[in-house]
Symmetry: C2
Subunit: 228 residues, 2 copies
DNA sequence: TATTAAATTTAGATTAGCCTAAAATAAATT
DNA sequence: AATTTATTTTAGGCTAATCTAAATTTAATA
């Protein structure tokens, strides 16, 4: 049988984090292939590791039907995500890195193992609620409050809101948003959809108007303004 | 032959750092046994790794006669030491960790791979010259200025100076110093040696007098006051 | 200088995390 | 329902970093 995992290694941590994120789009169970694609390794490798994670009770695994996280697995994943996002805030707020630069470095920092460090960093940063990409930061008990956001591509014509998150974190995409003043906190109004390519005209901060592709608006999350 | 090392792994970084520090007391070449003791691994393992480090030109190695660092090896070691000490300053100054707590966490942070991060951290901290233990911090070019300090146990009776470093970093020792007000910056005067056990009476900040064992005074570094 | 002791190296084995190729299973298509 | 395609698993292998046991070399001692 499989060797029991005591302390999760860097590799195991990355598996659990990837499973956590993939469960968003595959709630019934994360497939071997999507995990392999995310981690840039071969499916055969994933199958083996999932077996180990299952016997260490980090995941529940049904052969051929994917993996889901146990409570233990979820706790572990959220602890890593907490660290990742806190370090992103640190890099952005204190070291003045731009929002397209923080993720790569946080990928390393998230594995630093010290609860005391994490909690003091949290305090030092003033207990931030979200990271530079608008993603919520779990508290020290692993509690995460997911804000109610919708993709800009889901907004009705005439709807207004504030850019509050993104669902794509590549430097290229984030730099594109930056260049077009589509950063967090920006006020947007959806003016008109173009059915043939699902693109749309957007008004920015009640002033400038831009035309954005579906590829872009589907990855921008907004908080809709209450209409009264 | 040995596989060539491209990017130094965490393991390789720890070997190079250990060799750098051990060269202080073994300048002719670091022995297999002292490296094994420092890294808490077996001598046979060290022999094998030293071979790999030598073929990657990190060290010069004479079988049976120990290893010394090449320029490449020294550069790599100093980059890690720079990161280690900058993170210790961060933990101490910004997150308010005590000087006996910072080392362990810095052991992990020193392996984070980003020159940009290191240099921005340096700036954020105001380009500190020394870490919380008084050890000098190499600059971004790897230049390190070693201050002229002597062990308190080398001071003549009547000599005065300021505590400016330590040569032992265990939490137990650092906590002992803290408790006895023997922290960095403390003014000390050597009053009298006791030959039979090499202990000494020390005056602290021109006031309180304490009796310290040889074990303690040999690990305290002082900057002697100029006498005119 | 010969012998013993200590340090070091060599030989062979193990584990985690990866791989490729082949086999098995599930899903999709005719 | 039978066949083809896609996904997943199994089997066997590799590398870095470790280990133990045995052999070799250097250093210390008689
Ligand atoms: Mn990120
Ligand atoms: Mn983020
Ligand atoms: Mn240290
Ligand atoms: Mn230090």
């Amino acid at each position: 049988m499989y060797k029991v995992i005591f302390m999760p290694s860097l590799t195991v941590e990355n598996y659990l984090k990837a499973i956590y994120h993939l469960l968003e789009s595959e709630p019934e169970g994360v497939s071997t292939n999507s995990l392999a694609a995310t981690l840039k390794i071969k499916p055969a490798t994933v199958t083996d590791m999932i077996g180990k994670l299952a016997s260490a009770r980090f995941v529940k695994y049904e052969k051929y039907y994917g993996a889901t996280l146990t409570d233990k697995g979820k706790r572990t994943a959220l602890a890593i995500i907490r660290k990742h996002r806190l370090w992103e805030v640190f890099l952005s707020e204190k070291l003045k890195f731009s929002w397209d630069e923080v993720h790569e470095i946080a990928e390393q920092l998230e594995h630093i193992d010290s609860i005391e460090l994490t909690d003091r960093l949290d305090m030092f940063l003033g207990y931030p609620k979200t990271d530079p990409h608008g993603d919520p930061i779990p508290d020290k008990n692993g509690k995460i409050t997911v804000p109610e956001l919708i993709p800009l591509s889901f907004a009705k014509e005439g709807a207004e809101g504030m850019i509050s998150g993104v669902t794509e974190h590549s430097p290229a995409f984030l730099q594109y948003l930056e260049k077009n003043n589509l950063t967090l906190g920006t006020e947007v109004m959806l003016l008109e959809y173009y059915e043939y390519d699902l693109s749309a005209d957007i008004r920015i901060n009640k002033k400038r108007q831009v035309h954005l592709s579906h590829e872009v608006i589907k990855h921008i999350l907004i908080k809709l303004h209450d209409k009264h």
